[in-house]
């Protein structure tokens, strides 16, 4: 590994994973001198279930939790502003994001608003300088978490906030929250975590710390996603996926955003399609192109995907192609298992033409816009990926 270009790496969050992980939360908060946390949870049955699990874990702690349990896809900076005022009144000293997705986004931006004591959170911009230390943020992801929870990013109100300060200080991965209900939910989450981990892993700049996280994430998804899809309630597999997501978020925070991520993000923002679904659609095309372009370290994927034995037996020169093969086969197995639930094209996903145009418009503004738009066209009707 040639380290001469130097690198920087950070993982701001502690990981507590496994049986009764949530029950340590009161002690962890006390470790930050926090006694009045605000819990941010999603609306709906999944959110309520998560709240019940959390409340049970806090039993015997003597703490009172402040709870906002109505985060929906419509959450915006106006909501954050309202919550911020209430938090300041209640002297909230920690924030717990329960579940993933929007709840985590809201929690991060809320933390920012409360810590900065912003007069109007609607005026918050990604460029707003952060000169104070934010309140401790804990994320307790649930099934369906795809890794952005532990990352430095928060997407809210069409803005992308990005700062090390936004990342949580603690990720609690509890099996009770890990168990899912729907196979496609698990698949989408796992594939999104995988996609971002893969793109972090193959970047040309050498960073062994980042690679440690992406290696673990890729391996956990590879070994556990099929089982979690077959049985979303599988305790071990679902916990492993939560681990993979958390690690993927960290690796992603230390890497440049890749093509899979950009595509996944834009479809999610505009059409609400889970990022993993889009990544699965685009993966075979993009992999083929990465392989052709040659500046990505695709060979590095082979070991986490295939295991030590296969890695040792495969000549170095063949590993990049072998890794792509493996990934494509892995994807195919999932598509076979899920059928229509994991669409192979935008047409299959029911994306109308005019919405595709909206996507192309947004993507066009990206520095890789032309390439990304090309991929969108290729997956529009399920054209087979170009080989070699």
């Amino acid at each position: 590994m040639d380290l001469s270009a130097g690198f920087v790496f950070t993982c701001p969050f502690k990981t507590n994973s496994g049986n009764k992980a949530l029950s340590h939360l009161p002690v962890e908060l006390a470790g930050f001198n926090a006694a009045r946390p605000l819990v941010v949870a999603s609306a709906g049955t999944e959110g309520q279930k998560a709240v019940r699990i959390l409340k049970s874990a806090f039993g015997d702690s003597g703490m009172t939790l402040a709870l906002f349990d109505n985060v929906t896809q419509a959450a915006d900076l106006g909501l954050v502003d309202h919550l911020k005022n209430l938090c300041l009144e209640k002297k909230v000293d920690a924030v717990i994001a329960l579940g993933g997705g929007k709840a985590a986004d809201v929690a991060k931006v809320l933390n920012l608003a409360v810590s900065l004591k912003t007069p109007d959170a609607r005026q918050l911009l990604p460029e707003t300088p952060i000169r104070v230390r934010l309140l401790p943020l804990v994320v307790a992801p649930a099934a369906g978490a795809d890794g952005l929870e532990t990352s430095r990013f928060a997407h809210l109100g069409r803005k992308v906030f990005s700062s090390e300060s936004l990342a949580p200080v603690l990720a609690v991965l509890d099996p009770c929250l890990a168990k899912g209900k729907s196979s496609i939910g698990m698949a989408a989450a796992g594939l999104a975590a995988l996609g971002r981990a893969v793109e972090s892993h193959i970047q040309a700049d050498q960073n062994p710390f980042r690679k440690a996280y992406s290696f673990a994430a890729i391996r956990f998804v590879r070994e556990n996603l099929p089982a979690a899809v077959a049985d979303p309630g599988n305790r071990k597999a679902s916990l492993a996926l939560l681990n993979a997501a958390a690690m993927s978020g960290c690796a992603f925070s230390n890497a440049a955003a890749g093509r899979l991520h950009k595509l996944g993000q834009v479809f999610y923002d505009l059409l609400g399609i889970p990022q993993g679904v889009i990544m699965a659609m685009c993966l075979p095309h993009i992999l083929g192109d990465y392989l052709k372009e040659g500046q990505y370290d695709l060979a590095a994927l082979f070991q986490p995907l295939a295991g030590d034995d296969a890695f040792a037996r495969t000549p170095a020169g063949k590993r990049a192609e072998a890794a792509c093969d493996l990934l494509n086969r892995f994807l195919k197995e999932l598509q076979d298992a899920l059928g229509k639930d994991l669409p192979k094209s935008l047409a299959e996903a029911g994306v109308p033409g005019y919405r595709k145009e909206e996507i192309l418009d947004v993507l066009g503004a990206d520095e890789e816009g032309r390439y990304l738009c090309g991929i969108v066209e290729r997956v529009a009707n399920g054209r087979p990926e170009r080989k070699g």
């Binding site: 507590n16 496994g18 049986n19 009764k20 029950s23 340590h24 009161p26 002690v27 006390a30 605000l38 819990v39 709240v51 409340k55 049970s56 874990a57 806090f58 039993g59 015997d60 702690s61 003597g62 703490m63 009172t64 939790l65 402040a66 709870l67 906002f68 349990d69 109505n70 309202h82 919550l83 209430l86 938090c87 209640k90």
Partner: protein
Amino acid sequence: MSIIKDVPSGTKPFKRAYVAIFLWFTGRAVQAAARVDREVKKEFDSLPENFTFSLGCLPSGPRMVIGKEGGRVKYLGSDPKGRRVHVRLIIKSVDAAFLLLSFQESTALSTARNRLMVDGEIPQALSIIRVLNIVEVYLLPKIIASLAVKRYPSWWSMGRKLGGRIGVYTRTLLGI
């Protein structure tokens, strides 16, 4: 009405009760083992006079306190009563204590899994952990104890195991 609700944390009366009972039992078993087992006696002999240790859970959980008084090892209940506590074994929650005291996780594993914090001088804490391991061997049948301790002392004589077990149980139940 505020969109933020206040949710008081509940209680876990059954787990608390289980933990309290087991701590009581373990406390008295340690007191008993100090009279019955020569290794336990040796460990305590190496500790200073008035040495006191506690095993309990956060935040205000059930607790057991053991102290040396006049050369004898005594179970002091749950309150150190102003004595200086030399070693505190702190379990992070009632849930974690339940795992430990229902033998789902051994002492060593519990520490390894960060369930247990050890406060105090390490050599003394190690003595206490060795004592607790021996007590587990006495209290539990081999099939459970050998999973709960790192290395089941298969070289103990039958006499030691049997005699010790009877001695510890009797003294624990009678509190002598």
